[in-house]
């Protein structure tokens, strides 16, 4: 090791050899000049406020972890945390159960039809979450389209409360999450070698067995990535629980807002935000590992 680094030092110190490897690449000074503005923005408008949040959660006249201690004993925080986990897990599972068949359906289509079907999946992806929230109220609300239809069919007997409660949050959530789940699983299914299915069938396997033994195991990377993406996105949800949930369906993000504006307890708001940041950081790291392990050379 030592001798090799010594010899390298010597060759680059030689007068006729340039220390910069390639002149056709960008020199270090021009690179720094081009990178500096964005780096400064990210330091000032991203890292600084994040640091400020951590600082606010730890400082009230002196450094202390009191805000965290109070969170740990706050019934409101614990209930909200449980809500968040329940809603995130429910939303993710429902979107997995419904998203998988959609991905299968898409994967089975010839390319042109697949593009057409994909547009149906992508349209909500492009639609503002406020538009979707408003529309979900219009469809699933008490006087909404679905209840009008149910009332008409049952002669005014049936009216299902599907908005401003847990059902509403989960409906809104899966409407938002489904495209991510579908696209993630679709990626795995399209990469799957179809001849394996053909081979399994030649050997006499039925559709169910093929699914359990061939398709599902081979699409697992997409499923795991989709689940992680969904959980990560849903634990930070703010708009959907605020607009489609009831008072009992508050999630962590709403609690941050509540502490910030209603009770003006900034240390509590910050501590809550830091907890959320830590959880989602963990999930993102897991996602990175799944992606890195699943795809050759993907992480690097």
């Amino acid at each position: 090791m030592t001798s090799s680094s010594l010899s390298l030092d010597h060759s680059s110190a030689h007068p006729s050899a340039q220390s910069s490897g390639a002149t056709s690449g960008l020199g270090p000074w021009s690179a720094i000049l081009l990178l500096a503005p964005l780096t400064l923005l990210m330091l000032g408008i991203l890292l600084y406020p994040l640091g400020l949040t951590v600082w606010t959660s730890l400082y009230d006249g002196q450094l202390s972890v009191r805000a965290y201690g109070e969170l740990a004993t706050s019934t409101l925080f614990l209930k909200v945390l449980r809500n968040t986990i329940e809603i995130a897990v429910t939303g993710t599972l429902v979107s997995l159960v419904f998203g998988y068949p959609v991905a299968l359906h898409l994967a089975a289509q010839p390319p042109r039809r697949r593009t057409a079907c994909l547009i149906m999946v992508m349209l909500p992806f492009w639609t503002s979450i406020l538009v979707k929230s408003f529309a979900l109220v219009a469809v699933f609300g008490n006087q909404g389209l679905l209840n009008q239809l149910l009332g008409y069919l049952s002669g005014g007997q049936v009216n299902l409360p599907m908005m401003f409660n847990r059902v509403g949050v989960v409906l809104g959530m899966i409407n938002f999450l489904l495209p991510f789940m579908i696209l993630s699983i679709l990626g795995s299914l399209l990469a799957l070698d179809r001849r394996l299915v053909l081979a399994a069938e030649t050997m006499g396997a039925g559709a169910l067995r093929i699914f359990w033994k061939v398709i599902l195991p081979l699409s697992m990377p997409g499923v795991v990535a989709g689940v992680l993406i969904n959980v990560t996105l849903s634990i930070g949800m703010y708009i959907t629980p605020a607009l489609l949930g009831g008072r009992q369906d508050m999630m962590v993000a709403n609690l941050v807002d509540f502490y910030t504006r209603q009770t003006l307890d900034w240390p509590a708001a910050s501590a809550t935000a830091v907890v959320l940041l830590a959880i989602s950081g963990l999930l993102v790291a897991m996602l990175g590992r799944v992606r890195g392990g699943g795809l050759p050379g993907g992480a690097a």
Partner: protein, 385 residues
């Protein structure tokens, strides 16, 4: 070990960096002096000395990994040497950025700007040089005529065939009259027929314009067809250099003999040296061979080279010949190639002209393949690996 070899490099390069233009460089377009390129511990090029005269067409030939492309990139300035000196047109260019070297380059994938028309592509280097609009138009039109592509001036590169694209890429080089044009396997992406046509076209342009050209290829036929001089590279070193027929008829190593043309190589041991003739003892018998220029002593190992086209099937006895059974004969258009299996298992290739009504030898015939003594060539044994 590495420490020692590295510290030796500066000392050897010192004299040349003091005097940028010494006498041999005066007529040379490119002069490489002890150029070495290392990547970590790996030495891609080892102390290369090479001089290219003005107006010369030189080909760097060699298998992949032999360092020929590294050498080209060093001259272009895309990478920097670990030690040594590069002189271009009498000027020390060792540390000079690519865009100040005044070179032209043609790539295998053409590297034409997809967002520019053919005209704009060729005009680009002239615009970079700040030429007047009218002069640019005149020069581009002239060069388009030269390559007979005036009718596609307004098209985008991807609307052209591969051959047309490569001609545009050539025109883009010629138009600003660089001191030296580097070509990195420029015909590698074309089919055989087009490739042969383009070889002639490039030769014609070279003859008409007198631009110095450095051409990289791994195709020996291309190198033989086009070059004034071939530089054969092997493992980061120059194996042998010289005009095409020298490399073909007077290879100095087994590697040269095998890389260019096909060859019969018969290993043996020198038995005697007398009157300019060496007697080589081999498993197939004792053969007289003309003594090479280098000194040879009895007892040392050596290899006898005979090109297949210098062998004939004959019944006449003579000092130089082997006997074997014909295992296979293949027809290559104008010639026939016989594969003879000798008693000890060696295969000898004999190439004969194919003539109508030829009453040739048949498979399984046992025949004698002979050559004239002066067609044999004594090579040193290949280095042990």
């Amino acid at each position: 070990m590495t420490f020692l070899s590295a510290s030796a490099a500066p000392a050897s390069a010192n004299p040349v960096s003091v005097v940028p233009t010494v006498a041999p460089a005066a007529s040379a377009m490119v002069e490489l002096r002890a150029v070495t390129k290392r990547y970590g511990q790996f030495e891609a090029l080892h102390r290369i000395d090479l001089s290219i005269a003005k107006g010369e067409f030189v080909t760097l030939l060699g298998p992949s990994g032999s360092g020929k492309t590294t050498l080209l990139n060093l001259i272009a300035g895309m990478i920097m040497p670990s030690s040594g000196q590069i002189v271009i047109d009498g000027r020390d260019a060792t540390g000079l950025p690519t865009n100040q070297r005044g070179l032209g380059m043609v790539f295998q994938n053409y590297a034409l700007m997809p967002h520019m028309t053919v005209f704009e592509n060729i005009a680009f280097p002239l615009q970079v040089r700040g030429l007047a609009r009218s002069e640019i138009k005149r020069k581009v039109t002239d060069v388009l005529d030269l390559i007979q592509l005036g009718h596609v001036a307004g098209r985008r590169p991807r609307e052209l065939s591969g051959g047309q694209q490569q001609r545009v890429s050539l025109a883009r080089c010629i138009v600003y009259n660089p001191a030296l044009i580097l070509m990195d396997e420029p015909l590698g992406a074309l089919d055989k027929k087009l490739r042969e046509q383009m070889q002639l076209e490039i030769k014609r342009l070279h003859a008409e314009l007198g631009i110095t050209m450095l051409y990289v290829t791994h195709d020996q036929d291309e190198a033989l067809t086009m070059s004034d001089r071939i530089v054969l590279m092997n493992g980061g070193r120059i194996e042998q250099e010289g005009p095409p027929d020298t490399l073909y008829f007077k290879p100095e190593t087994v590697f040269s003999a095998e890389f260019i043309g096909s060859s019969n190589l018969i290993p043996g041991e020198v038995e005697a040296v007398e009157n300019g003739t060496v007697t080589l003892r081999t498993a197939l018998g004792r053969f007289p061979v003309p003594a090479p220029d280098r000194p040879v002593r009895a007892g040392e190992p050596a290899v006898l080279l005979v090109r297949p086209e210098n062998m004939v099937l004959t019944d006449r006895p003579g000092p130089t010949g082997v006997t074997g059974r014909i295992e296979d004969s293949i027809l290559l258009g104008g010639v026939v190639r016989h594969f003879l299996r000798c008693a000890d298992g060696t295969t000898v290739i004999v190439q004969e002209l194919n003539q109508p009504g030829r009453a040739g030898a048949r498979r399984d015939d046992t025949v004698r393949a002979a050559w004239s003594v002066e067609h044999g060539r004594l090579l040193p044994p290949p280095p042990a690996r």
